[in-house]
């Protein structure tokens, strides 16, 4: 029972990281229709940056916020390269983001080396029902809950959020009412970068990151986001949490190396199912 609780809570925390990463994918896709394969890189950059800033003596909080801002700036840069040139279609932009993601490895190895890095998060643990639970788990879960609520309200309640959504739902009409669709796409990339960054600084204390951690992160984040057709936040959250818990259970009761198989299997199942239903993703791919 205590094992189960342990796996459940740690799975939820890691799942929150996946969900936050997925929310960045959703944010960018919702506005630009681009599937951003450089999304995992934002988390890696933020995690590594936060670690460096902390070892340089910056206090907790400041270092993490600064790292999220760096990830936001990285997102803006990726956006400029991917969609900055007018007339770049979503499919071309997708390939560009994939390229940038790999290109970023070079920069990351140059700055941080090839070894995994981590930093201490929220110290201490609590005992619940015999389970030893790190406080960092609860910080991650709380921050993700806050992030998703804020993001959901932003898209459904605020004027800017609705205008951002309008860019993808009808680009011609958006331009006709005077919305600069390219600039709004860059706003989305910046926001997506920050969301990836939040995932990075929250998860790095739980599992160390290195330059190639983005593959694992993007696989899980994409699997979570695809559940909502890359446009809806709620399913992305549910998907992220389900993945985190499932992988934690598989690792705890069975074998850790099968973790990513869970994500890939879920992703494939959802994609096949969605393609059959001729939904947004299928249309994107044709």
């Amino acid at each position: 029972m205590s094992d189960f609780l342990q796996y459940l809570i740690s799975g939820l925390a890691v799942g929150c990281g996946f969900a936050l990463l997925g929310s960045g994918l959703v944010t960018i896709h919702r506005v630009t229709r681009v599937v951003n394969f450089a999304q995992g890189m934002f988390a890696v950059v933020a995690g590594l940056t936060a670690g460096s800033l902390l070892s340089a003596g910056l206090p907790h909080g400041v270092a993490e916020v600064a790292a999220v801002l760096v990830a936001g700036a990285t997102g803006l840069l990726v956006g400029i390269v991917a969609i900055g040139r007018r007339g770049t279609g979503p499919q071309s932009a997708l390939i560009v983001t994939l390229g940038i993601g790999f290109l970023a490895y070079a920069g990351e190895i140059l700055i941080w080396g090839e070894d995994p890095h981590s930093f201490a998060g929220l110290g201490g643990a609590v005992e619940i029902g015999g389970a030893h639970l790190q406080k960092q788990y609860f910080l991650v879960i709380g921050a993700a809950a806050l992030g998703f609520t804020a993001l959901g309200l932003f898209f459904t309640r605020s004027y800017l959020g609705k205008a951002l959504g309008a860019c993808a739902s009808n680009p011609y009409a958006a331009r006709a009412v005077g919305i600069d669709v390219t600039r709004m796409g860059l706003v989305a990339f910046t926001l997506g970068g920050m969301l990836g960054g939040v995932a990075g600084v929250l998860v790095t204390p739980l599992q160390s990151v290195s330059y190639h951690s983005d593959v694992l992160l993007i696989t899980n984040g994409f699997a979570a986001a695809i559940l909502g057709g890359l446009v809806r936040l709620g399913p992305a959250l549910v998907g992220g949490l389900a993945l985190g818990v499932a992988e934690s259970m598989v690792a705890g009761y069975y074998e850790a190396s099968y973790q990513s198989v869970v994500a890939l299997a879920l992703m494939l199942a959802v994609m096949v199912w969605r393609a059959r239903r001729h939904t947004a993703l299928y249309e994107e791919a044709t």
Binding site: K162, A163, G165, A166, S169, A173, A176, G178, I179
Partner: protein, 253 residues
């Protein structure tokens, strides 16, 4: 070309013009969609731009609205132009209220009062009853009315209407045309109406241009254009019923 001299004379004084298009050329690759077109819309004036499918009307509209860069020539706007786009172009997932509010973009320059939709509900009271419905679930006529309301939210000096009647039933078209006439005559809003249904357009507007293969073929007061044998032969003959415009897309591309 027989009407051109009178047409030029009937043009609005450039000093009070809201839209001035001069020698406009629009090209897609090697294809020329609009070839040296000059049109003027005066303040408070209602002007029709008629022509068959593929004449370059939508390209002209996009150039006037700044949605595409012309290859040559100039577009000058004196005041604000708002577009009622071809095919209504709703934001389908948003409700009517939000569709209207987005018409008041940009975010900062005009403050929250600009986003107050009540002035649109005064002009188009039917919209108030459907303000919480999703735009994607509305009928074509309702959507066209939302498109009008959204354009009015920009507080325009001139309303550019791209295909008022396309895909709508005759009664719906007539009601919308009446709204447009009301906006023009009682509120002094200038109108540039782009229509395949020449009879409807010339009935609504005081002056018109006939666009064909990217060039202005003839221009003049609506009454003269409607009486003109060549216009009648080319555009009015087939439009015996008021909504005779065929359901077509991709005009001018």
């Amino acid at each position: 070309m027989s009407l051109s001299p009178q047409g030029t004379a009937a043009s609005a004084d450039p000093l009070t013009a809201v839209i001035e298009v001069e020698d406009l050329v629009v090209r897609y690759g090697t294809a020329t969609a609009v070839d040296q077109v000059s049109i003027t819309v005066g303040a408070g004036e209602a002007v029709a731009l008629v022509g068959p499918n593929g004449a370059g009307k939508s390209s002209l509209v996009d150039a006037v609205m700044g949605l595409l860069r012309p290859a040559a020539g100039s577009v000058r706007l004196h005041g604000r132009a708002a577009l009622v786009p071809e095919g209504r172009q709703m934001f389908p997932d948003l409700d009517v209220e939000d569709n209207l509010r987005l018409g008041a973009w940009p975010l900062r320059s005009r403050g929250a009062a600009a986003r107050d939709t009540s002035r649109v509900y005064e002009v188009l009271p039917d919209l108030a009853y459907i303000r919480r419905r999703k735009a994607g679930a509305l009928s074509g006529g309702q959507q066209q009315m939302v498109a009008f309301g959204r354009a009015l939210m920009a507080d325009p000096d001139v309303l550019v209407v791209d295909e008022l009647s396309l895909g709508l039933a005759p009664l719906i078209t007539a009601a919308l045309a009446e709204h447009l006439r009301e906006l023009n005559t009682s509120r002094g809003l200038a109108v540039l109406l782009i229509e395949q249904n020449a009879r409807l357009a010339l009935d609504l507007c005081t002056r018109g241009y006939v666009l064909e293969s990217g060039r202005i073929r003839t221009e003049g007061p609506s009454a003269q254009l409607a009486d003109s044998a060549e216009v009648a032969a080319a555009y009015l003959g087939g439009a015996a019923e008021p909504s005779g415009a065929p359901d077509t897309e991709g005009d001018g591309e």
